[in-house]
Amino acid sequence: MSTVRADLSHLAVVPAYNEAATVADVIRGIQREAPEWDVLVVDDGSTDDTFAVAEMYGARVLRLPFNLGIGGAVQAGFTYARENGYDVMAQVDGDGQHDPAELRKLTEHMRAHPELDMVCGSRFISSNSHRYPAPISRRTGIHIFAFLLSLFVRQPISDPTSGFRLYNRRAIRLFASDYPHDYPEVEAVLMLHHHRLRMEEIPVRMFQRGGGVSSISSGKSFYYMVKVLLALFVGLFRRRPIPEPGDHAPVAAGQGL
């Protein structure tokens, strides 16, 4: 049985910052496991061969002129998806921790539940034998976010930092116009909730990072925690009006004090 509807166009966005060592495997993995998907690598100002490698393996590549951070890179992917009329977009990290074979699961779930705008792969659901090998400090942080976020959005969220996500057109359009900056995944869940879009998590396997350096080094974990907590609490009190055409939507910071 065909797992992907032929009448929909699918885009897999692979944000990559200095991931020359692993991005080829990710691209090949998607091409092998999910051949209907177009692959778009967003080279986030890498200083290594990420761009050349991605081109060589036949991916489309957006090359950001300087490093924007994961939020800006993924948002470029959303904009690409919107402007090229894709129906479904997935985010697959360039470091190889997401298994392209699981894309099928995400897609099937969205197909079975058409009311969902985002389907998120979670490491922590289910009694999987394949425990995700994350350091305890990071797991603690993730669970704190998960607890707070579940409270805020009144829906159980087990893995709010997972970047393995599938979006439909509505979510693509929302995030193309406004996506959080530095560590976007947690805040993005809150944004969806504010805009009354729906999401659900399904269990997936994730691998240990293939190579490169995580955007969250252990030294930065604390900064990460504080920043996301600030964003969450401020986000609670932020009205996020849906930008109208003609608004200066993508530039979130207004003029003056």
């Binding site: 967003v42 489309r60 590549v61 957006l62 090359r63 950001l64 002129p65 300087f66 924007l68 800006g72 948002q75 470029a76 904009t79 690409y80 919107r82 402007e83 090229n84 009329g85 359009r173 929302l174 193309a176 116009s177 406004d178 900056h181 849906i242 930008p243 109208e244 055409p245 003609g246 608004d247 200066h248 939507a249 993508p250 530039v251 979130a252 910071a253 207004g254 003029q255 003056g256 004090l257």
Partner: protein
């Protein structure tokens, strides 16, 4: 109150005022950012010249030595100015993010159409794929446009 400190304050405020005006004249400082500076220079100059107001202000907020009230006001302005700049920097950062994304998108499109043209001689697919009218979209369609 000591006249020396008053003199110093007057000279300082006048210097600031002239400097800001001169920078605006030479287009080194945008009016948008000069306004707050001008306001602080004028207020400081006013308080330095008009002793009565300064003493009144000092008494009102409970400062024993009136010239300290001048520092207090100056410090308050500095804080506001700094915050103002943080806002301006955030805005610039956001704008440069959008620009970087647009540049990357354009580059990719150019790349694709060049490759298409060099390849089969077929009309390029790049431009045709661009969704021309997402009209009912509730979100702003173009990143760069401002009224």
């Amino acid at each position: 109150m000591d006249t020396r400190i008053q003199l110093v304050a007057i000279v300082g405020a006048v210097f600031l005022l002239v400097l800001v005006l001169e920078l605006v004249r030479r287009r080194r400082l945008l009016e948008r950012y000069a306004l707050l500076w001008l306001l602080s220079a004028i207020v400081l100059l006013g308080l330095a010249l008009w002793r009565g107001a300064l003493v009144e202000l000092a008494q009102a907020v409970g400062i024993a030595y009136p010239p300290n009230a001048l520092f207090f006001v100056a410090f308050a302005f500095v804080l506001v100015l700094l915050l103002h700049f943080s806002v301006a920097v955030s805005r610039l950062g956001d704008q440069s993010k959008v620009l970087a994304q647009r540049v990357a998108l354009l580059e990719e499109r150019l790349h694709r159409s060049e490759r298409g043209a060099a390849g089969a001689g077929e009309p390029t697919t790049g431009a045709a794929e661009i969704d021309p009218a997402p009209s009912q979209a509730p979100f702003a369609e173009h990143a760069g446009t401002r009224r």
